[in-house]
Amino acid sequence: MSSTSASVDVESIVLAVKEDIARNCKAEQIPLFDEMEAGEVLGSSDQNMLFNRIYFSDTFDDAIEAEHLDYYHPLQGSSVAVFIKRVARKLCRGVVEPLCDRQSVHNVSSDALIRQLYFRVNSQDLTIDALARRIELLEIENDRLRRREKDCR
């Protein structure tokens, strides 16, 4: 048990906070979590909270930057070290190079797929916005026609 714990008197802090709440009438009715329905959420605007567009683009840029794996790197060190590294690289080449190439192909394909999906999502967002605006205009028009019909009667 930490000896410093006694110096933070949680009980009195809580008491002071409660007094402050009562004094400043901060009490409020917070909706209860139990009242929330646990139904379908996919496709609703709630899902936007799980997606951060700026963060997504930034992460995607990082992924693109790292997508190509180079097998060859400049060798550094003394001439003996460089020689040993070169021999080791030649020995490993048959195994490592095809792996690097396959991984690079995979990365580039994934990049292309993500890019396509992203464009698709963006275009769908634009379509949804346009449809929302159209609904809004139609509702206005509908109200106008209803009023006109009422006036005619």
């Binding site: 048990m1 930490s2 000896s3 410093t4 714990s5 110096s7 933070v8 949680v10 802090i13 809580v14 002071a16 906070v17 409660k18 402050d20 709440i21 901060k26 009490a27 409020e28 917070i30 909706p31 979590f33 929330m36 329905e37 646990a38 139904g39 379908e40 959420v41 996919l42 609703s44 605007s45 709630d46 899902q47 909270m49 799980l50 951060n52 700026i54 963060y55 930034d58 992460t59 990082d62």
Partner: protein, 356 residues
């Protein structure tokens, strides 16, 4: 004598997997012939894990230690071994938490509870990561010796560079950042974190943001319900990060002004220690093993009232001396959880049980 740790799922990303790897390294360093056997591995753990067939060649002189963390066929295989048997108990989330959201997970938890009861007279010793876990086992009828040793954590890893991208995105805003780290599951009571944040934002800091750092399944009805709740509270500054890398976790702790935990079931709660290691003041609800892990440090609340929690967070952020005292207490507690201290303790217990 071979000392074999068996774990149903070995992942370098979770607390149980990390604990298993850390114990393996500790045993090797102490001169034991240590092995790790995993039912399956994910996210490339940096230790060579053998498959379950390795258990078939063990004899009576060997010791097998099971990491008990979930219902699994691995637990049953363990029970049938002729070796001496030990267990490291990480706890099982009570199935009731998942009943209304995910029947499959609830069944897994139920299986875990049943298997924990089944193993009660089949193990020779247990190491529980908290007294709360020991009590849980005693309720399940365990009569063998149960030692309590906290989780062995590589706290040195927390001095690594945090993710620059997260810092770039989130470190320059005006308001306070509230952070909670953990998988989005019902027992961690994310709704209470969100409710306290809503009050804090309405009354104390309109620029405040809440970061909920941890993996989630977007089709999970619990997540759906949380999102609806956030919508109902008209909150716009709540961010679910999803699964993040270790350097990203470090960055979220770096930008955090307060670590807010409202969880009601934890066998230990590693994120509390992580917050302490990164000097983030902790405000937590006193449930399960949380009071024990904090051991008097942080701000431990006995009631779960969002108004009170928000008020306490505000005090903590406004009152420099309170914040300093809380952080000093956390640093002191952290010294008891340092790798060397826990490793010594754990090695002492394991030596006694393995050689005794």
């Amino acid at each position: 004598m071979k000392v074999v740790q068996v774990i149903p799922v070995l992942s370098s990303g979770d607390a149980c997997g990390n604990n298993c790897i850390a114990i393996h390294e500790l045993l090797v360093e102490a001169g034991f012939e240590s092995y790790v056997v995993a039912g399956r591995t994910i996210r490339e753990p940096h230790v060579e894990a053998k498959d379950l067939s390795f258990l078939d060649c063990l004899g009576e002189e060997d010791v097998v230690i099971l990491h008990f963390m979930m219902g699994s066929s691995v637990n049953l295989k363990f029970a049938s071994l002729p070796t001496r048997k030990g267990m490291i108990y990480h706890n099982i989330t009570p199935p009731g938490w998942f009943d209304q959201y995910n029947g499959e997970v609830a069944s897994e938890c139920r299986l875990g509870v049943d298997q924990a009861v089944y193993l009660r007279d089949k193990v020779d010793f247990v190491v529980a990561v908290s007294k709360y876990n020991r009590l849980d086992l005693q309720f399940k009828g365990y009569l063998c010796p149960i030692d309590v040793v906290p989780l062995l954590l590589a706290l040195d890893d927390y001095v690594r560079e945090p993710c620059a991208k997260v810092l770039r995105h989130h470190d320059h805003f005006l308001g306070s950042n509230l952070v909670f780290v953990g998988r989005v599951v019902p027992n961690k009571c994310f709704e209470d974190v969100i409710a306290a944040f809503a009050v804090y934002k309405n009354h104390y800091d309109s620029h405040a943001r809440l970061f909920l750092v941890g993996a989630f399944d977007s089709g999970d009805p619990y997540v759906a319900r949380l999102l609806r709740y956030i919508g109902e509270l008209k909150l716009t500054d709540v961010r679910f990060t999803g699964h993040v890398s270790f350097d990203e976790i470090l960055a979220y702790y770096r930008i955090a002004d307060v670590f807010l935990c409202q969880s009601e079931h934890e066998g230990f709660c590693v994120p509390l220690v992580e917050a302490m290691a990164l000097d983030v003041p902790v405000v937590a609800y006193a449930a399960a093993a949380i009071p024990e892990t904090l051991s008097g440090c942080g701000v431990l609340l006995k009631e779960k009232d969002p108004l009170v929690t928000a008020g306490v967070i505000d005090r903590l952020l406004q009152d420099e001396s309170m914040r300093a005292r809380v952080l000093a207490g956390q640093r002191e507690r952290l010294s008891e959880l340092q790798h060397d201290v826990v490793a010594r303790q754990l090695l002492g217990v394991l030596r006694r049980r393995l050689e005794g």
